[in-house]
């Protein structure tokens, strides 16, 4: 340990036990990476089945019951097992301590526990899907889920509940770590924006998740024991569930997108060699989104029978929350002005993100509009909108992060040419998949439809064609990244000449992250030096 060649966190110990029982945030991050990648593959296969089925208006590939289980499985797996944990649990876990110059998270054991709780929840959800199926949609709307659904609602819902606790543990760890463990000299306004974004995300995880946990327990009690919270024949109110569900699940959208925004800030600064234009405004816009995000859940319910005046208030606040997101987009764009842009793979994901996120964010303005939403609610317009945010935003951010920090995490470089090719496939495949769905939605095609009228077929064929391209774009990285582990060039400590504490330690870092605690003397993104 005292020699020059200190072992990295990867080579410190090779036993299986040293992985499974590790309290090292970096190893936990790698375990999360493996787990969420598997879940992502499962979710993608289900997506492929949906797109194949929708090639024709007649439901000829699957039975209606199976189709409903497939789209429910796709939604539940992608939302709870990939999008929510994705960036925070993998890159947040790996980077938050290193970026602030700490040796580990504040609570390493809770961190490890969060992984196993996550895994347990994932296994419960998958077993519900495999043994009996879930057919409620990922939204679990009552009274269908509580009194009518035929599948394994209880185990599936409790899986989502369990995964929620893993989120709470991760969020708690981030909050305490960021508050208490910053290196000397690392003041709040010297923090990378990735940290600000994760701080805001952690707030939502800790404050919002318990509410959905309560809602899920209520559904399970009703399903198992016939409680009457949501059952109108017992005087309950089915719409109450929607309030409880969206009170968490709308902020959860920001759990999915805020970390990606943090990633984009890091990548733009590095690949344009520029400070983020208006750092403070970008930092505060993350907090603004997290706070206002708690006040807009009712925009999912404009046609649910809630009062028109409630709808009015929710519409107004929803329009307000568009502003901090717009601010980020403008500030990122301005950052590129008179910069030095390097078109490396991570930057290609940034450029893709900017276009897709612009469309995803701006189409939110349609959904926030009371009159237009009456027409597009529960149609493919909504499906297209949230995929532009979730896939176009979050997954582009996730892939950008993966390509940016891969050398740091593994110590290896990947093939730049293959990586760029896959980024191009993802961008065009994505647009071809989801843009036609905006048109389908405004024409009136409802979502979750197994059979559909013939006039919608052409656009559905386009969408399926795009999905195959997108699928290829997702498959490539699995191969060239695995290849890089064996054959890739050794990565230097700082392959991108990036700023930030994570680039001052070796690639991959030692178990303790730094040989001695770093002292920070400058702001984030001091790229001019």
């Amino acid at each position: 340990m005292q020699t020059q060649k200190k072992p990295s966190y990867l080579s410190a110990d090779h036993t299986i036990g040293s992985w499974l029982l590790t309290q090292d945030h970096k190893r936990i991050a790698i375990m999360y990476l493996v787990a969420v990648t598997l879940f992502f593959l499962i979710g993608s296969i289900l997506a492929l089945l949906i797109r194949l089925e929708l090639l024709t208006p007649a439901g000829d590939l699957l039975q209606s019951e199976s189709y409903n289980r497939v789209f429910t499985g796709h939604g539940v797996v992608m939302v709870f097992l990939f999008l929510i944990p994705g960036i925070p649990a993998v890159f947040g876990n790996f980077l938050v301590p290193i970026m602030i110059g700490a040796r580990d998270m504040a609570f390493p054991k809770i961190n490890l526990a969060s992984f196993y709780v996550f895994l347990a929840g994932g296994v419960m959800i998958l077993s519900a899907i495999v043994f009996g199926g879930l057919d409620t949609g990922w939204t679990f709307y009552t009274p269908y889920s509580s009194s009518y659904a035929t599948g394994r609602v209880t185990i599936g819902a409790l899986g989502a509940f369990t995964v929620g606790f893993s989120s709470i543990m991760t969020g708690l760890n981030f909050l305490v770590t960021i508050h208490k463990m910053r290196a000397p000299g690392l003041t709040w306004f010297r923090l990378p924006l990735f940290i600000w974004a994760h701080y805001a995300t952690a707030l939502i995880m800790v404050l919002g998740t318990p509410v959905v946990a309560i809602a899920i327990v209520m559904v399970a009690l009703e399903h198992l024991f016939g409680f009457g919270f949501f059952d109108p024949t017992k005087g309950g109110d089915p719409v109450l569930f929607q309030h409880l569900f969206w009170f968490y699940s709308h902020p959860a959208v920001y759990i999915m997108i805020l970390p990606a925004m943090g990633v984009i800030s890091e990548l733009i600064a590095c690949f344009s060699r520029k400070r983020i234009f208006g750092y403070k405004l970008v930092a505060f816009s993350s907090l603004g989104i997290a706070i206002i995000g708690f006040l807009i859940w009712g925009h999912h319910m404009f046609v649910s029978g809630q009062s028109a005046y409630a709808g009015l208030v929710f519409s107004l606040i929803t329009y307000i929350v568009a502003i901090p997101s717009a601010v980020k987009a403008f500030n990122w764009t301005a950052t590129l002005y008179r910069s030095s842009v390097s078109w490396k793979t991570p930057m290609m994901y940034v450029i893709g993100f900017m276009g897709l996120f612009a469309i995803g964010g701006l189409t939110g303005l349609f959904c926030a509009n009371l009159a237009v939403d009456v027409h597009i609610h529960d149609t493919y317009f909504i499906v297209a909108h949230f995929h532009y945010i979730m896939v176009g935003g979050t997954i582009m951010g996730y892939l950008g992060a993966l390509h940016f920090w891969w050398p740091k995490m593994t110590g290896r470089m990947y093939s730049e040419a293959w990586a760029r090719l896959s980024a191009i496939f993802v961008f065009f495949g994505f647009n071809l998949t989801f843009f036609p769905q905006f048109l389908l939605g405004y024409l009136g095609m409802p979502r979750r439809y197994h059979f559909y009228p013939e006039e919608f077929q052409f656009l559905n064929i386009m969408s399926t064609a795009g999905a195959s391209l997108l699928g290829l774009g997702y498959l490539f990285p699995i191969f060239y990244l695995m290849w890089s582990l064996k054959k890739g060039e050794q990565a230097p400590a700082n392959p991108w000449t990036a700023k930030g504490l994570e680039w001052e330690t070796t690639s991959p870092p030692p178990t303790t992250n730094f040989d001695k605690t770093p002292v920070v003397t400058e702001e984030a993104y001091a790229y001019e030096k």
């Binding site: 344009s272 029978g305 701006l362 009456v374 001019e528």
Partner: protein
């Protein structure tokens, strides 16, 4: 609207459709402008300022408060205009007009059942006249469904346990899709039907046609309600025209506030009447005992709708089942809709 052979807008067949589309097109214009602006600038900067040598170190720019204020204020003003436009149109869609035809609908897994005021019933089809507001009171027998007619830009969730009201005024004859838009189980995508918009004279002809529903003699909603009221022995406690019995008098009660046990008051509307039949002890009128048994499971949602229509038709002066017997459909509509005879 057709572009490159693509239909971009669905048929506009109601008075609301054009206004919704105008708001939509306004937001489309803003979206296209800002997407082009942001993406255009990102591409332009990324190409123009591409890295030409590894040693390049561009000058730092901290930020610019004026610019930031501009790109907070301008989008804010734009989104507020969207909000205003959407809200105005929404309140038009949300508030049914006073006149028009009152229809009734029940959603169940996986079909739509409709009743015309004259008692005619349809499944998955709904015939309506153009040029007249059509109001529909809807409820569900099981899970949440959603009544969606894209050509009318109208959608409302049909929630079990409550009545929801929607309305439209069709402007073009034709057949239009009716979809269930809220996922409701296995055959969700088969819960579709059509709305058939007819010229008023065709609609009148259709109404007077011979294809009486298969469920027996044609009775209007109110007549059917009166019959159920008799059959279920409701009059034992709620006899019309007599002094108060074991239960509250029903004549003239509709639309008024009544005091409840426990000090609250409630306005007697369709929802409260329905609740009083199915969950009678939930909100008891002041001065009465919680004696009434529930009728849950004994009468269908359609029958409840008929009884509600009957109770609404009761006024202190008249025994209304006679008043509408043999009446024309439009009389029945007026009776059911406005509780006047």
């Amino acid at each position: 609207m057709i572009l490159f052979g693509f239909n971009l807008l669905p048929a506009q067949a109601s008075t609301a459709a054009l206004s919704v589309d105008l708001v939509y097109l306004y937001i489309v214009a803003v979206t296209v402008f800002f997407t082009a602006l942001i993406y255009g600038l990102v591409m332009f900067f990324s190409i123009k300022y591409r890295r030409r040598s590894e040693s390049e170190r561009p000058k730092p720019i901290e930020g610019n408060h004026l610019l930031e204020i501009i790109w907070i204020a301008v989008p804010l003003v734009i989104v507020l205009t969207m909000f205003a436009a959407g809200t105005i149109v929404y309140f038009y869609i949300f508030h049914p007009p006073k006149d028009g035809i009152q229809m009734y609908g029940v959603g169940k897994q996986w079909m739509w059942k409709f009743q015309h005021p004259d008692g005619r019933r349809e499944i998955n089809d709904l015939h309506v006249p153009m040029g007249t507001p059509v109001k529909i009171t809807l409820t569900s027998e099981d899970v949440i469904h959603s009544f969606y007619v894209p050509a009318f830009r109208v959608k409302t969730d049909v929630v079990p346990g409550r009545y929801v009201q929607t309305w439209f005024e069709a402007t073009k004859p034709g057949e239009y899709h009716l979809f269930c838009a809220e996922y409701c189980g296995t055959e969700h995508s088969r819960m579709i039907g059509k709305v058939i918009v007819m010229k008023p004279e065709d609609y009148a002809k259709w109404l007077s046609g011979q294809d009486v529903s298969s469920t027996g003699p044609k009775l209007s909603m109110v007549e059917r309600g009166a019959k159920i009221f008799q059959d279920m022995r409701c009059a034992t406690c709620h006899a019309p025209g007599t002094a108060a019995g074991l239960g509250p008098k029903l004549e003239g009660i509709y639309g008024h506030d009544v005091a409840l046990e426990g000090g609250q008051t409630v306005k007697v509307d369709d929802g409260y009447l329905r609740e009083s039949i199915l969950l009678p002890t939930k909100r008891i009128v002041k001065g009465y005992q919680p004696l009434m048994p529930t009728y849950q499971g004994q009468i269908s949602e359609e029958d409840v709708l008929s009884v509600v229509a009957y109770v609404k038709s009761l006024t202190p002066q008249a025994a209304p089942a006679d008043a509408v017997a043999g009446g024309t459909p439009s009389d029945a509509a007026a009776t059911a809709g406005t509780a006047k005879d």
